[in-house]
């Protein structure tokens, strides 16, 4: 079954507060897992305020939902450029859903949203070296590894390489057509 993307609601607060206890979620939001100067409430509100409701927004958060499992993660759309029709994506899945199959489904859902809802020309995801399931999911979704930035991020206080996977609209459509047997 396909996953759905939706804007966060007030009723999602508890889920997001729970995720704050996950070091991986803090790393997803802030790039590190250390304590933040902002109050927890401010951090959570930042996640809730999905600016995607505003036309021409340049960033926003969407929750990933599965019919059976409920809310399983969140997608951050960054650097959305309506002139270039491009964006970068970041994906967080709750610990119990962080497996290869769900990562692949979520990645495909997010790229599909970029092309079929946001009508973008390209979408890209940054993946840290070692996140092999995310890298594989990008490749499965038709993305190409476009760059490797050595030591560009910090993980547990150590520099890690960041890989960039990008997919163009034409590539996405071609892959969809092949899958549909067109």
């Amino acid at each position: 079954m396909e996953l759905r993307l939706r804007r966060p609601e007030r009723s999602d607060l508890d889920i997001i507060v729970d995720w704050m206890g996950d070091a991986e979620f803090r790393h997803f939001l802030f790039g590190d897992t250390g304590p933040r100067p902002q109050h927890m409430g401010q951090q959570v509100l930042g996640v809730m305020s999905s600016a995607l409701a505003i036309p021409m927004a340049s960033a926003g958060n969407l929750l990933l939902e599965d019919d059976a499992a409920g809310t399983i993660g969140i997608v951050m759309l960054q650097d959305v450029s309506w002139r270039n029709r491009s964006c970068f994506l970041a994906l967080y899945l709750a610990a119990e859903h962080r497996n290869g199959e769900t990562i692949a489904r979520a990645t495909d859902t997010v790229f599909t949203y970029c092309f079929e809802e946001l009508n973008l020309h390209r979408a890209a995801m940054r993946v840290e070296a070692g996140q092999t399931e995310y890298a594989q999911a990008c490749t499965q979704a038709g993305a190409v590894r476009e760059f490797v930035m050595p030591g560009h991020a910090q993980r547990d206080g150590k520099p890690v390489d960041v890989h960039g996977y990008g997919v163009l609209r034409a590539e996405f459509d071609a892959r969809r057509n092949v899958a549909a047997g067109a």
Binding site: N84, S86, R122, E146, M149, G151, G164, L168
Partner: protein, 186 residues
């Protein structure tokens, strides 16, 4: 202010707005025109003046490049260089492509290199160039930058897409280069 052999490099001022604005020639896409979302941005002269008046934004990061006659030749920027950052983006904006193969450009780079690696103790400098900015790319390569890869069809302007290449230079790897000039603090 840094007085070198070929240039004077100083903090940009609101009075530089018109000279800086002229660099934003919309006729030819150049990577230094790109804003945070990698969109081509053409500010007005008033916006330029307002930006250059914001000391919190430009202090220690946005510099005018002058010749000894006082003519502004371009600007250079160390974007995103903060104490907590490990890296910053280098931007060298000169008025024409040929200028990147001159001692002036090399002197500007040496200034930025010292600012980033010695003064700000950064680990890495990054830079970007569009697919047709061959002179700028050669300039970066001459100074030790290596390619991290190319983001395909990243920038849309002039009715078509341009690829955007990312390059980086690590503090441990920088060994100088270029045409061998040196800037001296005054």
């Amino acid at each position: 202010m840094i007085s070198g052999k070929y240039t004077i490099i100083r903090s940009a001022e609101p009075d530089d707005a018109v000279a800086m604005w002229r660099l934003y020639d919309p006729g030819r896409p150049r990577s230094f025109l790109l804003g945070p979302s990698r969109e081509v941005m053409i500010p007005t002269q008033d916006e330029m003046r307002e930006m250059l008046a914001r000391r919190d934004v430009i202090q220690g990061s946005f510099f005018a490049i002058e010749d000894f006659a006082g003519e502004v030749l371009g600007c250079c920027v160390l974007r995103g260089a903060k104490m907590e950052s490990d890296f910053a983006e280098v931007v060298v904006a000169l008025s024409h492509d040929g200028a990147y193969n001159t001692p002036v450009a090399d002197e500007v780079f040496q200034f930025l290199e010292k600012l980033g690696f010695v003064d700000k103790k950064l680990n890495k400098l990054v830079a970007h160039c569009l697919s047709d900015e061959t002179e700028y790319r050669d300039f970066l390569g001459r100074h030790g930058f290596t390619s991290d890869g190319i983001q395909r069809e990243m920038v849309y302007t002039k009715g078509r897409y341009f690829d955007l290449e990312s390059l980086s230079l690590f503090n441990s790897a920088h060994t100088g280069g270029g045409n061998g000039t040196a800037a001296a603090a005054s």
